[in-house]
Symmetry: C2
């Protein structure tokens, strides 16, 4: 049975979409707890401008205060050269760079054409060389909420350009929950053929209920790395009604039930997930934290024992 | 591409768990609308006692007033011989009988041991012979929330006993959302080998987020019939925190995206789903009615056109 590795994105991708500031203390405490759960990687924060994303204005302080657990990689989102300098000073284990495969989505999200994004990220990759490994997250790879279909060839073209620059990993993102399992299987097959030497991660959203079906489809094609967000927190402002990233604990629960190892302590992860609504001040989409694991049994109603006795004495 | 058939259970399994009575007019109007959507089957109501399930006390009136569309089968839940008489008078196209494969679940839910349930249902099957086809829904086939594991052999033993009585179909139910995709694939394979001549239906709940993953796993093993509930309405009182049956429109949406035909007009079904919160007086779990289909695109923010022009004039 294939071992599956998770990258937890709740404190970056999840919190970034929250309206109320989460305190630095709460962020550090949550990341330390997640570190103890057994993740392969945690996306801690983003070195973007405090003006653009006030939620992550404490990136340096968070990176300075978390307890680093050996075996866990602490990755950070790096939007540009200035962010890369800050990330290096903060001793990030990996840079995660982001751009979209859809021109309209890139303009909407990053306010520049894809070519300009690529040129900027190429500078960041040059800076990182010999110092820190780079992962590139490509957005809207399974469809754009404004353009519609994003051809597979377009996704591969951008992936190729980054692979040629020597990045360690690629994350293929279904940014607004448009992927379906047949499409995922095709994409996973092509990615593994073409980028088998790179660290390949898939990033799904559960916007249309297909999140775990897409994880299943990916695993069936040999994919072994996923982004997940505690509680299913996160979402994209360009997909109204979206319910967010796939929920880490729901995905881990399914994979464990199927016999896969993840290295994650699910009981401990669920305890962390049950604290999340108190941290963000509202209910979150994750289902296992509410319904319990399939192994969490319930007592029978009291009348069952009486009925059992009654029918036994009759027979 | 395999054609997939749906049985809509919202007005029976869904409404049965609702606290507020849904008017007979509203039930008839909804069923008539669902009939026009292209379902293979609709489980209209249950001929149980009005005292046991007040919500379905209007079973005769609903069956008398709905418009029957050729090609749609109108099935009803029949708990006993008295219910069978009423169902025959109401010209039901099929009897759906229910018992659990878990002794504790059967005692909790039907307040009698499985053997007593079986004996009663055998009488109903004898009554139906030559008049109306019978389907048997077996509950808790993927696990019992009180007993835990339900061995596959136990499920097959009960399925065999009903098959020997000449029923037309079997519905294998994951009553409380405990099934996972690896288990579903194994079960589907065994069921198709053993009961290939019967109408085989799978019934999933999305309690733990695996509903559509389990549909995918079933389809991969050649299963072509599913129960679904509009809006994902329904649930089981013995599974606290449960989110209910798989959502019909979310399942149909996924299967259409993957290239399967279902005979269902998804746009019309979504219009019906969007009325459901008004009928039951609360939000429902279905996601496509909120997020839209993957083909429902959104306009780009107004600044995108400006940015596009600005960057074009620069280059």
């Amino acid at each position: 049975m294939q071992r599956i590795l998770f990258n937890e994105v709740v404190t970056r991708d999840g919190f970034q979409n929250e309206p109320e500031f989460v305190s630095t203390d709460a962020k550090v405490a949550l990341i330390d707890e997640l570190s103890a759960c057994g993740y392969a990687k945690i996306e801690v924060t983003s070195f973007t401008s405090a003006k653009a994303i006030p939620m992550l204005r404490d990136a340096e302080e968070v990176m300075g205060r978390i307890r680093r657990v050996p075996g866990v990689e602490y990755t950070v989102l790096v939007p540009n050269v200035r962010g890369a300098e800050r990330a290096l000073e903060s001793r990030a284990d990996e840079f995660n760079l982001v751009m979209s495969t859809s021109e309209t989505h890139n303009l909407a999200n990053l306010r520049m054409p894809r070519e300009k994004s690529f040129a900027g990220l190429r500078e960041v990759i040059a800076m990182a060389q010999g110092q820190v490994p780079v992962n590139v997250s490509l957005s809207a790879c399974f469809g754009c909420p404004m353009e519609g279909d994003v051809p597979e060839d377009e996704v591969l073209r951008w992936a190729d350009r980054f692979a040629e620059l020597g990045v360690r990993g690629l994350t293929i993102c279904d940014t607004t929950g448009m992927a379906h399992p047949a499409q995922v299987r095709r994409m996973a097959r092509v990615l593994r053929e073409r980028f088998g030497a790179l660290q390949l991660t898939l990033h799904f959203h559960n916007t249309r209920g297909m999140g775990l079906a897409n994880v299943l489809a990916s695993v069936q094609e040999g994919i072994d790395r996923f982004d997940g967000s505690l509680g299913g927190l996160g979402g994209c402002p360009y997909a109204p009604g979206a319910t967010g990233n796939i929920c880490s604990e729901d995905a881990v629960h399914m994979l464990h039930a199927m016999g896969h190892e993840t290295g994650i302590d699910l009981a401990r992860l669920l305890a962390a997930a049950r604290l999340l609504p108190h941290i963000v001040g509202h209910d979150v989409p994750g289902q296992i934290a509410k319904a319990g694991r399939i192994t969490d049994l319930h007592p029978a109603p009291s009348y069952v024992a009486e009925l059992r006795q009654q029918f036994t004495s009759l027979s």
